[in-house]
Amino acid sequence: MKLLECTIENYGKWHKTRFVFNGSLTCVCLQNGEGKSTLASFLKAMLYGLESERDNATEKGERSLYYPFSGGAFGGTLTVEWRGERYLIERFFDKKSKKKDTLCVYDGANRQTNALGECVGETLFGLPVEAFERTAFIGAEHTDISLRYGIGERLGRLNLSSGTVEEAVAALKAKRQELRSDRRLLGKYTGKIPQTEEKLVALQQEIFAIEQDEKRLGEAYRTEAELCAVERGQSEIVRTQARLQERNAPIKRGGRWRSLVWAVAFTLLLIGAASCFFEVVLGVGLLAAGALTLLAALFFAIGKREGNAQRSAELARELDEKTAENAGVLSRYGVSTWEEVRSLLSDMRRLVSELESRVVSLPQKRQELSETEAELFRLKEEAEIIDATIAALLEAARRLNGKYLQPMTESFLRYLSLLGADFIGGVALDGDLKVYFESGGARRSSEHLSDGQKSVVELCMRLALLENTYGGELPFCILDDPFLYLDERNLAFAKNALLVLKDKLQIVYFCCHESRKL
């Protein structure tokens, strides 16, 4: 991507001003306060827009800072070359809100186009504005802090890695802690998962207890049924006894008829016997009738007695069996009187009622158990997703760092060489991209470098970063008086380096003193 020219309608102190960028190296020498930073801000604003002003902000944003005092259209145009095509970016900004800003992009044929998307800078460079600011803008930073940055911090400051990952992982771990703490408190883990597990155990225990009640209820039902059967059995016994007595009674009740028959039989025999003396035939006939009657009576009496005896024996047997059965049941329960039986039955009924009231809740408890198990599963799944997300984020950060480490080391060393690294001597990078140098056979930290040396080293680091964070075309680079702290000799090296550097990327070089002019 190449800057071709820009026209500032109104932006800060710039008013209807046109800048043409000379190929690969444009030198802008302005005194302090003459608008170098304003120009840099304008270029960034053309590419990335401006943030809206917040009413309660403690510091003014760029929108407020560069809004023209005289009013008028706030913005301008920027012409760039990208992928062999020429584009004119026209932006005007509202005083307060970016929602009211306007953006139009025209292609080389002056037709409006959407080729650069809504966020021009991201389309051109594939980077967010923070990363752009921290790569394309290189000032005279030479602080110890900068040099002590490892790759993680450097990429993090570009919003590329580490910083955001660390915060994200911390937030996820906090979320994870809500589910299950890493450490025990008073011997127990805290969190939703342990709480749910405890609830599950409590429910299981409760259900187990109710299931025992259920078994007892079954026993109680059987006992109640048996005792009721005993009661019914006792009633049956009483009825059987009555029937038995009735069986014996008919012999007495029917005695009158039997006596009559006997009397008739004997009368017939007597009359027959007596008649034999007067009328033999009549007498014999009467005797025969009397004998037959006697025989019939005898036969009937014997038969009925046998029948009665048989039935009585059956009834007696039934009675014995029932009595024995009842006795067996009663002895099993340790009761002997009917009062005790009734009392036991009453106790059983109370127990049944009590157990039923507990057992009736069993289905709901099982349902609650099932729901709790499902909830536990969901929570564990959520925890597992969090763990997987943390692992993926850390791995992404590690890969990102790894992606940059080797190429940045190579770029850094190349730029060091380009800028005359010999004068620094022994400067190298560790595995985390932190700068050190060797002296007296030992590794020394960058704190021991002079300010000038630090400037050069940091500049090389920034250039290496610039070269490696833009996946496609390199952007332009604004160097805002980066050689402020260099002495004459080192400045000469640096200037030469820039002249070589311009072949790689477009440089807009600001300085505020003729001595540092290219």
């Binding site: 594939g126 980077l127 967010p128 990363a131 990429l155 570009l158 919003n159 590329l160 890695s161 580490s162 955001t164 990952v165 915060e167 994200a168 992982v169 937030a171 996820l172 906090a174 979320k175 259920e214 078994k215 209820l217 079954g218 039902y221 059987r222 049944v352 039923e356 057992v359 009736v360 069993l362 289905p363 709901q364 099982r366 349902q367 099932s370 729901e371 997703i385 969090i386 997987a388 997300t389 993926a392 984020l393 791995e395 992404a396 950060a397 890969r399 990102l400 992606k403 964070t469 833009y470 996946g471």
Partner: protein, 349 residues
């Protein structure tokens, strides 16, 4: 001869749904009424026998009131023969001795009804393997067999292997245990069927419930008779393209399921809004629209991953890393991506 085949009443069970205690009590009552209605149907239609293929009660120790209800209905329907085979949930207490109640045991019991026989056996560990060889049925009669268990390739204490019952002169194998109607051929002569339950008790018992009406004649004819008071329905609602919780609720409220029924609503698709708490919000707002409502959130966040894929930074690296994991569940990947990007953006988790 008309015969009803039913099973799995599970009298006394809880409803496997989130119901208020009043509704749960009403549902238990309806399950009892379902059996009463079945018997009333039988009396009206001149059904002569009812096959009860197990799990009539939900517990080995059913409450007395449930036993009294069930056996009371049987006792009153004196003109109908009830064949009661116990399942795996109603074993402990023996049934009362009623003149029209025929029971079974761990050995084959056959009742001869003239042209028809009804046989049954209650599965247990001791007979699970031997029962197949000990069944002998006359070839010149219509033979109905009752069992309770899961149909499987392998025979076991709770499984029934129909292939071992092929060629045994079975015309109809009446089964219990599975709570939906299903019928399949047994062999060249007969078939086996699950009648399903009379009323669904939860959202895993979807669809119509009822009993099988069997008519014996030259051949056995069967028809499934759906008779449930309420059905459990499953509806998947895709919320892709909806913009808010309110829109989701509005769409869900217009689902065409009868108010008397029980609805399981599964929210799916890609959500373009924050779905935290969506399940509960939808449930609380709509729970009175149906007899019972269960809401499951199976949505995944709508992510515009295209812009991240080309990014240089950590978001891009993260997205590319997660997407490159082979053989991983897509839904799980989306959850990780959504959570990771949300965390990286600094949004509250």
């Amino acid at each position: 001869m008309k015969i009803i085949h039913c099973a799995d009443l599970h009298l006394g069970s809880s409803m496997q749904t989130r119901l208020s205690s009043e509704k749960a009590a009403l549902r238990r009552e309806e399950i009892c009424r379902a059996f009463e209605d079945t018997v009333a149907f039988a009396r009206r239609e001149g059904v002569q026998a009812v096959l009860l293929c197990g799990d009539i009660f939900d517990s080995d120790c059913p409450l007395l009131r449930d036993r009294q209800f069930f056996f009371g209905v049987i006792e009153q329907a004196k003109e109908i023969l009830f064949f009661y085979l116990k399942g795996n949930h109603d074993r402990a207490l023996p049934p009362p001795a009623l003149p029209n109640l025929k029971t079974f045991s761990a050995e084959w019991t056959t009742y001869d009804l003239g042209e028809i026989t009804v046989s049954g056996i209650e599965l247990c560990a001791q007979n699970a393997l031997s029962l197949y060889s000990s069944l002998t049925l006359p070839s010149n009669k219509r033979n109905i067999v009752m069992m309770h268990g899961q149909v499987a390739e392998v025979a076991g204490e709770n499984t029934i292997a129909p292939r071992f019952l092929a060629g045994k002169n079975i015309d109809y194998l009446a089964l219990g245990h599975i709570h939906f109607y299903d019928e399949k051929p047994l062999d060249g002569r007969g078939r086996y069927a699950y009648s399903g339950c009379l009323e669904g008790r939860g959202f895993d018992e979807l669809g119509d419930k009822g009993f099988v009406l069997i008519e014996t004649g030259a051949e056995i004819k069967t028809v499934f008779v759906p008779r449930s008071y309420r059905a459990a329905r499953l509806v998947k609602l895709d919320i892709s393209g909806l913009k808010s919780v309110a829109e989701t609720i509005d769409r869900a409220a217009r689902i065409g399921v009868a108010q008397k029924d029980m609805l399981r609503l599964v929210l799916c698709g890609e959500a373009a809004f924050d779905t935290e708490g969506l399940e509960n919000i939808v449930y609380e707002t709509l729970k009175e629209n149906w007899f019972a409502l269960s809401v499951k959130d199976e949505t995944c966040p709508a992510l515009d991953l295209a812009k991240y894929r080309v990014q240089v930074g950590v978001e891009g690296e993260f997205v590319r890393l997660v997407e490159s994991v082979p053989n991983a569940d897509e839904s799980r990947k989306k959850r990780i991506l959504a959570l990771g990007l949300k965390a990286l953006s600094g949004e509250k988790l």
